[in-house]
C-alpha cells in the first residue's frame, strides 16, 4: 500500500482496473443476452417460441450469432469513402460502451481497509474522507450521446447509397431533436439535487425518495425521449425496413454491422442505467440485498420495458415523430422547468 503513482495509492489502480473490467464484461454480456431476451420475450408475446435450437431453449444463440458474423464476408462498396466507412462503426460503438463510467452501481465497499466506491469514475479520498467522483457526470453522458450521432451520420454518408444517406439524415435529425428534449427534461432533477454529480443525485434518493415521484413528468418525458434517441421501436425510423431497407447500415456486413447492433443495445443498457440513476433511486433498495443487486434489477426491468414497448406499439410516421418531439415534448419540458422553479422557490 506504500507505493504511490501520481499521488494515488497502488490500491486505487488495482481497484480501478478491476472495476473497469467487471463493468465492461457486464455491459458486453448484457448486450449479448438482451438480443436473446428480446427475441424470446417478443416471441412469447406473439405466441411464438423464439430461438430454440442452439442450446437449451436457444441459450447459446448470441454466441452462435457472434461467431457467424465474424466469419461473414466483409463488403466495402466500391463507391464508398473507405476511411469514413471503416471508422463509423467504431465511432458508434465506443461512446455506447463508455457511458457506464459515471454511473454509480453500488454502495462504497471496503476491501482490506481501502474504501472503493462502486462507480468507475470515482475514488475514495482518504485526506478529505469523501468519495470524489466526476462532478459533471450528467454532462459526460449527454456529450457521449452527441458523439454517437456522428457514427450514424458518417455511416449513412460514406456508404454512398441512397438508402443509407436517407437513413443517416433521418436518424441524425431524430436524435438531435430528442436529445434536446431529454436534456431539458432532466434539468428539473438538477434543480432539486443542486448538483450534476451522479453520486450526489443517488445519495439524495435514499429511503425511497425517488425523483420519479417528485418529477413524474420529467421521468416519463426523459424515458420516452431516450427511447427515441437510441432509435428503438416505436421510433426506429432510421431502420424502417419497409421503406429504407435497413437505413444507415444497409451497406454494412460482417462485424461492422454487428458493431452498430451492439452499439444500439449498449445504448439501451446505458439509457436504462441513467434513468435508474436519475429517477429510480440508483442502487438504493430495501436493504436486505447488496446495492448492486437492486441496481441491476432496476436496469433489467427497464430493458424489459423497452422490449415490451417494442412488442406493443407500431412504428411512428416521420412527421408524427418530429411533431411529437418539437411540438409536444419541448414545450412540456420548458413548462416543467418553470413550474418546478416556482414551486420550489415559494
Amino acid at each position: 500500500m506504500g507505493y504511490e503513482i501520481l499521488g494515488l495509492p497502488m490500491a486505487y489502480y488495482i481497484a480501478m482496473v478491476l472495476k473497469v473490467l467487471v463493468v465492461f464484461v457486464f455491459v458486453l454480456l448484457t448486450v449479448a443476452y438482451s438480443t436473446y431476451a428480446e427475441r424470446k420475450i417478443i416471441g412469447h408475446m406473439q405466441v411464438r417460441l423464439g430461438p430454440m435450437r442452439t442450446g437449451w431453449h436457444g441459450l447459446l444463440q448470441p454466441i452462435a450469432d457472434g461467431v457467424k458474423l465474424f466469419f461473414k464476408e466483409e463488403i466495402i462498396p466500391s463507391k464508398a469513402d473507405k476511411f469514413a466507412f471503416l471508422i463509423a462503426p467504431l465511432i458508434a460503438l465506443v461512446p455506447a460502451f463508455i457511458g457506464f463510467a459515471v454511473i454509480p452501481f453500488g454502495e462504497t465497499i471496503e476491501v482490506g481497509g481501502y474504501k472503493i466506491p462502486l462507480q468507475i469514475a470515482a475514488y475514495y479520498d482518504t485526506a478529505s474522507g469523501q468519495v470524489v467522483d466526476l462532478n459533471v457526470g450528467v454532462l459526460y453522458i449527454l456529450a457521449l450521446a452527441s458523439i454517437g450521432v456522428y457514427g450514424i451520420v458518417l455511416a449513412g454518408w460514406s456508404s454512398n447509397s441512397k438508402y443509407s444517406l436517407l437513413g443517416g439524415l433521418r436518424s441524425s435529425a431524430q436524435m438531435i431533436s430528442y436529445e434536446l428534449a431529454a436534456g431539458l427534461a432532466i434539468i428539473s432533477v438538477f434543480m432539486l439535487s443542486e448538483s450534476l454529480s451522479l453520486q450526489k443525485i443517488v445519495a439524495d434518493q435514499a429511503n425511497g425518495a425517488w425523483y420519479a415521484f417528485k418529477q413524474p413528468l420529467a421521468f416519463i418525458l426523459f424515458f420516452i425521449c431516450s427511447i427515441a434517441e437510441i432509435n428503438r421501436t416505436p421510433f426506429d425510423l432510421p431502420e424502417a425496413e419497409t421503406e429504407l431497407v435497413s437505413g444507415f447500415c444497409t451497406e454494412y456486413s460482417s462485424m461492422k454491422y454487428a458493431m452498430f447492433f451492439m452499439a444500439e443495445y449498449a445504448n439501451m443498457v446505458t439509457v436504462c442505467a441513467v434513468t435508474t440513476t436519475l429517477f429510480l433511486g440508483g442502487w438504493h433498495g430495501p436493504g436486505f440485498l447488496p446495492g448492486w443487486f437492486w441496481f441491476v434489477a432496476k436496469v433489467y426491468f427497464l430493458i424489459f420495458t423497452c422490449m415490451w414497448i417494442r412488442a406493443t406499439y407500431p412504428r411512428y410516421r416521420y412527421d408524427q415523430l418530429m411533431r411529437l418531439g418539437w411540438k409536444v415534448f419541448l414545450p412540456l419540458t420548458l413548462i416543467n422547468i418553470v413550474v418546478t422553479g416556482i414551486i420550489v422557490s415559494l
Binding site: 473497469v20 466500391s78 434536446l180 420550489v344
Partner: protein
C-alpha cells in the same frame, strides 16, 4: 480530480481496442469473393440510378439550426439549475424572462411552419 478522469481513459482504451480487434479479426477471418455487382450500392437488385451525393430536403438544415439554438439554451440552464436554490426568487425571475423570450421565438418558428413535415 485526476483520480476521477483516469478510469474513463482506461475504459475508452479498452472499448477502442475491443472495436479495433472486431474490425481487424473479422476482416482477416471472413471469406472474400468480391465482384463488381456485389460491391455496387444496394438498390433493391436494380442497376443503381445516379449518385447518392444529391441535394436533400432543406428541412434537415432547419432542424439542425433550431437544435443549436435550443441546445445553447439548455447549456445556459444547466449551471442555473445547479445554483438555482441559492439564487432564490431573483434567479427564478431571471430564468423566467429568458425562457419567455425563447418561447416567443419558438412560437414564431412554429407559426412560420418550420416544424411542419407534411
Amino acid at each position: 480530480m485526476l483520480g476521477a478522469y483516469l478510469p474513463i481513459l482506461v475504459l475508452v482504451a479498452i472499448a477502442v481496442i475491443f472495436g479495433l480487434c472486431s474490425l481487424v479479426f473479422s476482416s482477416l477471418i471472413g471469406q472474400k469473393k468480391p465482384s463488381v455487382v456485389k460491391l455496387a450500392p444496394y438498390e433493391c437488385g436494380c442497376e443503381p440510378v445516379g449518385s447518392a451525393r444529391e441535394r436533400f430536403s432543406v428541412k434537415f438544415y432547419i432542424i439542425a439550426m433550431l437544435f443549436i439554438l435550443f441546445d445553447i439554451e439548455a447549456v445556459f440552464l444547466y449551471p442555473w439549475s445547479v445554483l438555482f436554490k441559492r439564487l432564490g426568487m431573483f434567479g427564478v425571475m431571471e430564468m423566467g424572462v429568458f425562457i419567455v423570450i425563447l418561447f416567443v421565438g419558438y412560437i414564431y418558428v412554429w407559426k412560420k411552419g418550420a416544424l411542419e413535415w407534411e
